[in-house]
Structure formats: C-alpha cells, structure tokens
C-alpha cells in the first residue's frame, strides 16, 4: 500500500471552529464581501488591525498571502482556504480538494508578446524555442508542453513586462486583469491560457471528518456567489 505523498514533518490540527484561510491582496475585499453575505462578520478584518487570526461566531479566519493558502490547507493548518486558480495551477502538486468556483476576482492567464512584433513565431521557427519570462513557471511549462511548443521558461519575481522590453525574453506568460499594464508596455495578448477566478479549497482530512460543516459552507458560498 502506498498512498499519496509522505510528509516527514506534520503539523497537528487543532479542533474548534473551521479555520478558513483568507487571501490578502487583490482578492481580499471581495472575499470579505462574500463572507459578509453568508453572515460571517468581517468588520474586524476590515479595520487596520495587524492581527492575522480572527474569531467570528462560526469560523476562525486566518489572513495570508494568496500563494501561501495551498500550503496551509494541504498541511491542515487551515481546514479551508480561498485563493486564485492561478495559484492553484502553479502549485498543482499540493493535495487539496478544489470545491467551488467563487466566480469573483476574474483574470486571464495569457501568453503575450510585443505589439506588432512577429518575433515569437520567428524565434520558435528559426531558433527552436521561445524564451518566455514568467512568475508562473510551472503553469507556463505545462501550457507549452500541452500545446506541443518549444519554450525556455525563465522565472522572474518582479515586473515581468520588463523582460521582453530589454531582451531577456521573447514573450511573457502572466496574469492580466484589465490589460492596461500590457498596453503601457507595448505588449499584446497572443493567446489566452485560462481564466482564473477565486476558488474554495479544503484540506483532505477536514473534507472527510467535518463533511457536514464543509458542505453547508460550500452551499452558502455557492448561493452567495452564483446569484
């Protein structure tokens, strides 16, 4: 018998109210609105408190960077979490249950190149591979692999739009909201890879052992976000 991955150091889970990981950053405001809509009081989180953990009547809310949500949920340090599909796609090896599309925070993951510049197609034809800068190296690699295209993926941490401007890369894979940043940097979308929205994920054990509470929360969130 050999189930799944085997972690060496594991965090024990506390009991009590379900613990929900709430993403700070772009999804923060809408996440709080949705929680308010299902009757979870988020007033305390909206203040300028430096706290990271908040207790409400029903849930314990833990705030963190969106990209940390899968880590906490996989380990069971949070029972449930909300984060973007872009994060889940990039951390696809983390084992969590993806339960619900919350439908807000919509952005597009795209392949973009310089406007009017046929360099992307040309380098692929002449040099064998495009150089692609991205903050999402695993998502980008999977995309090119599935599309059967050759690309050398270069991971950068900061403004990825810079890379094609100064010749680090021929194009970029990035998350685009309005497209204004692309526009301002003379870049244009060549291909949409997927649409990312906020998702509800659950720890594997919490999904089983607290099934009724989890299902109830899923239904209420579905009602609040699928109107």
């Amino acid at each position: 018998m050999s189930p799944g991955s085997v972690a060496g150091r594991l965090m024990p889970r506390e009991e009590g109210p379900l613990k929900l990981a709430v993403p700070r950053g772009a999804l923060f405001g809408e996440t709080l609105d949705v929680l308010d809509a299902i009757g979870v009081d988020t007033a305390e989180l909206r203040g300028d408190s430096r706290s990271l953990v908040f207790r409400t009547d029903e849930l314990a809310l833990v705030t963190m960077r969106p990209s940390d949500v899968p880590t906490y949920v996989e380990a069971g340090a949070a029972d449930l979490g909300i984060t973007g599909k872009d994060v889940l796609s990039e951390q696809a090896d983390r084992v969590t249950y993806e339960l619900l599309d919350l439908r807000y925070g919509s952005c597009r993951m795209v392949l973009a190149g310089r406007r009017g510049d046929e360099r992307l197609a040309e380098v692929e034809r002449r040099l064998g591979a495009m150089r692609i800068a991205t903050k999402y190296p695993r998502t980008a690699e999977r995309y090119f692999e599935d599309a059967g295209r050759a690309a050398e993926v270069i991971e950068v941490k900061g403004s990825v739009e810079l890379a094609p401007l100064v010749g680090l890369a021929d194009g970029i894979v990035d998350l685009v909201d309005t497209g204004r940043t692309l526009d301002e940097n003379d870049l244009e979308v060549r291909q949409e890879i997927f649409v990312s929205t906020a998702r509800l994920v659950a720890n594997r054990v919490a999904h089983k052992l607290r099934a009724a509470e989890v299902d109830d929360l899923v239904e209420r969130l579905r009602e609040a976000t699928w109107k």
Partner: protein
C-alpha cells in the same frame, strides 16, 4: 568544520523517539497477532523487474542501482508488492488463505522543500485468498483494532470503491477522451474542473449530469448509499452493490461505526481493484494510511488469488498519538 550531512528526507531517530516508536509498533504487532496475522520480513532491496510487475506505471522505485554482477536492483516503495511476490514463491504449494503482518521501512522519491520523507516506516497486514466482502471486512476489523491499540479511538476509516466511478461511466456509456478527462479531474480532487469535464459530454441527460457531479461528494454513514440510489437509480445501484455488500458485512461484524462511506474516494495506485480505505484522525491534517483490495496483483506473480490489505504510516500515527494525548490532557 561543517557537519557531515545526510540526504534530505532521511533522519536519525534518537532514543526518546525510538522508545515511543517501538512501543507503538509493539501495540500494532500485538493487535495483528491477536487476529492471526504473523509478522514477516522481506528484503529492502529486490530485483527491479520483480517490483515493476506490481506497478502499472512502470515506476516501482525511485532508487535503483546495479549489483556486482550487473543486475538492476531497487529499494522497495511499499510492502504489498514484495508480499505478493513472497506468496507466489514461498507459499506456492500451500492452501490459502494466508495472513501476514509487517513492520518495516519503504522508500519514496521526494520533492524539494516539502518536508517529505525518503525513508518511512509502515505497519500493515495482507490477507490473501479471501474474496470480498468477507476478506475486506476482516481486514477493516483488524485495522480498527490496530487503531484502538495505538490509542487512536477517534480515528475514522473512509471506505470507498476504486472502480465505482469508472463503472458508473460505463453504465452511462461515457468513453474515450471525455471519460479520461472526467477521471483526471476526479483524481486531482478538482470538483470545479469535474463540472467542466462533465459538461463537455454531448447529450448527457440532466439526471446523469447531476449524478456524476454529486456522487463524489457523498460521504458519511449508511444513508450515503440511499442518497446515491435516489440520485442515480439503477445505474448507481449496480455500481454501489459491491460497496453495499462490504458495508453489510461490517455491520454484521460490529465495526461499521468506525467506517465513513465515501463515494468520492480514489486511490493513486494501479493495483487496486475494489474496496479501498483511507485512515484519518481529527488531530492530524494528513492521511494516516490506507489500503484496499488488489485481486489481480498476486496473479501477476503466477498465483491467481484475491487479496486485500492496509498500511499505516507509523511516524504519522506517532504524531497523531502525541496530539491526542495533548488534547486529552487539556480536556481533563
């Protein structure tokens, strides 16, 4: 001077922990023995070709090397395949059933910076030569006893069927790429993606759609089977018949209350053929172990026998044990 390193994912166990691990393993061994499962040991290294027979994906071991005469050897990645090999060779002339217990280490590849173990301890049993549902129920009864012996009275055994969803797709005549896409999303625990994959099937009637989407979320007591039948009618009734039979046998043996039926349970190993189990404790966010039926595996080594077993991750049990102890102290 720098300290001499050990490979990531391996560790030294010192006396305090070892004492507790031994006590835990003794408790498990005792539970296995009381149910007629004698302990066996097999080598940590086997011929790669032999282990590969047990693994459909052709990657039975992360660690392979050559011996002095050029044979390809491998470190075992679980204990089930070596025991299937043992039965087919050392017990070739004997009458089944065979009952074995084991406590040993197995080896797995790790991904960097995930705190994963390359070498980990497992404790489990294999029952070979007894069909479902009797054999399955017997093994679950021993599993419950082992968890009790480890002091994990709150642990829950999730029970599902490895073929249930596949059978349902057969009943609904969904084949080819669509079928693979659906199974792929399910294996990734991606219920959002599952909806997309189901909606990509042309001409699916609304009731079948509802069944495919809601079945994997059904988990709980025996009412789960009734709800499934309401949802999908005869097709689901046929697909869950085997699970129902196993559950009835568990009720007869008086261990059904330790079991959570879970129609969404899937296992990632190629050799499972029917009932599958996973073990959870409320104190820990990770699965403690699992197992199931593997009625075709022993046959790959030349002896066609039905089989079922489970393995617990001893180190995880130990963490859960320590945590239950702490919660108990706080509670009192």
């Amino acid at each position: 001077m720098t300290h001499p390193p050990i490979p990531p994912g391996t560790r030294d166990i010192l006396a305090d922990e070892m004492r507790e691990l031994r006590a835990l393993e003794d408790a498990l061994r005792g539970a296995f023995e009381r149910h007629g499962y004698g302990e066996v040991a097999t080598p940590a290294i086997e011929y790669h070709e032999v282990l590969a027979r047990g693994d459909d994906r052709g990657a039975p071991s992360a660690y392979r090397f050559f011996d002095e005469s050029g044979e390809l050897l491998a470190l075992r990645s679980d204990m089930t395949v070596p025991i299937a090999r043992l039965v087919a060779s050392r017990f070739a002339g004997e009458e089944p059933p065979f009952r074995f217990a084991y406590l040993g280490t197995a080896f797995r590849a790790v991904r960097p910076q995930r705190g994963q173990a390359r070498e980990f301890r497992q404790a489990g049993i294999e029952l070979i030569g007894v069909e479902a549902p009797e054999g399955t129920a017997e093994v679950i009864e021993v599993l419950a006893a082992a968890l009790d012996a480890a002091g994990l009275g709150r642990a829950v055994i999730g029970l599902g069927d490895a073929d249930l969803y596949r059978q349902l797709l057969d009943e609904l005549q969904i084949a080819g790429d669509r079928r693979e896409a659906i199974l792929g999303r399910l294996a990734a625990h991606d219920l959002v993606g599952l909806e997309g994959a189901v909606d990509a099937v042309d001409g699916l009637d609304p009731r079948a759609r509802e069944t495919l989407l809601r079945l994997p979320g059904l988990r709980g007591d025996r009412s789960v089977l009734e709800r499934a039948h309401e949802l999908g009618g005869d097709a689901v009734e046929r697909a869950t018949a085997r699970l129902q039979a196993t559950y009835d046998e568990l009720v007869r043996r008086g261990v059904a209350d330790r079991v959570q039926l879970d129609l969404g349970l899937l296992r990632d190993l190629g050799y499972y053929t029917g009932a599958i189990v996973e073990v959870y404790d409320p104190a820990l966010g990770h699965v403690l172990g699992g197992g199931g039926r593997y009625d075709e595996l022993v046959g790959r080594f030349g002896r066609d026998l039905p089989a079922v077993g489970f393995a617990l991750y001893t180190e995880r049990l130990h963490i859960a044990q320590a945590e239950e102890e702490r919660l108990g102290k706080e509670g009192s």
